[in-house]
């Protein structure tokens, strides 16, 4: 009985411990705990912004885009145009890299090529337009432009390398 209810809360164990820790920190005036909680809320707000987009994109792909279409545009035979499309898709999104994993899964399920999935992840990690705006504000246009232009060919190269290495190793992305 106890074991079963533990299994049920297990996925939430970190969240629960953190909630108890934070409440305790405020209750007893434990400053490190308060600082940790404050930086958590900052990140949490960022997450509230990107999660809806993520669900919309995953949902859209899942329901609206038939497999043949995705395969044709960003699948094995899609060439330069496929690369271009995944880069644009990534640039229009927001959020940290792990936010792209569910999208990578749905792209994989719909027949995107290995190369394009990893180019997508690369572009998602550091070419997102909302982030580029912030980057220009803090670090200047020269830095942002140089970094972007240097990064893109490297991501594409990584895509090719990953595909070359993984193509006969029965690559798959799991639904989590």
């Amino acid at each position: 009985m106890i074991k079963r209810s533990f299994e049920k809360i297990k996925p939430y164990i970190w969240l629960l411990s953190f909630a108890v820790f934070s409440v305790g920190s405020f209750w007893f005036g434990f400053d490190p705990g308060k600082t940790i909680y404050q930086s958590f809320t900052k990140s949490f707000i960022e997450m509230l912004i990107f999660i809806p987009f993520l669900f919309i994109i995953v949902g859209l792909f899942d329901v609206w885009f038939p497999k043949e279409k995705i395969e044709k545009h960003i699948g094995q035979e899609s060439g330069i145009k496929g690369i271009f499309l995944v880069v644009i898709l990534a640039m229009l999104q927001a959020g940290p890299l792990y936010g792209a994993f569910p999208v990578a899964y749905i792209l994989y399920k719909k027949g995107a090529s290995i190369k394009n999935i990893f180019i997508y992840l690369g572009a998602f990690s550091s070419l997102k337009i909302p982030m580029l705006g912030i980057e220009i504000g803090y670090l200047g246009i020269n830095f942002t432009l140089a970094r972007t232009l240097v990064s893109l060919p490297l991501f594409i190269a990584i895509g090719y390398l990953m595909e070359w290495y993984l193509k006969d190793k029965d690559f798959k992305i799991n639904e989590v």
């Binding site: 990140s43 992840l121 990690s125 670090l139 490297l154 989590v176």
Partner: protein, 124 residues
Amino acid sequence: MFKNIVVPFLNILILVSLLLFIVPPQMIVKYLGAGSGALGFMIAAVVGSITLIPGFISYPIASGLLRQGASYSTIAVFMTTLMMVGVVTLPLEIKYFGKKTAVLRNSLNLIAAVVIGILIGIIL
């Protein structure tokens, strides 16, 4: 979808908040500032790979570094590893991609980040 996607994300946020407490931004600025040279570059790559700092904290850090005289290449390698290499998120990435693929992707991206840092140093 909530349990499988949002809960792991929240767990990552908790871990990130703990890490930010252990390694506060001021400390990062101190070690990666002016004259940190090749060692600073390497520290930037390691710190960037391990931690995961949200954009609205990492950009102010980067701009602080710049004002303190850090080189563009150190900042580039720091920002790039922060965005592309994630040791903290590796367990989640392994769930999606499997161990081999996840480790390979992170390693290749770390190499790419170092190359980006060096090239930025040459260009700017």
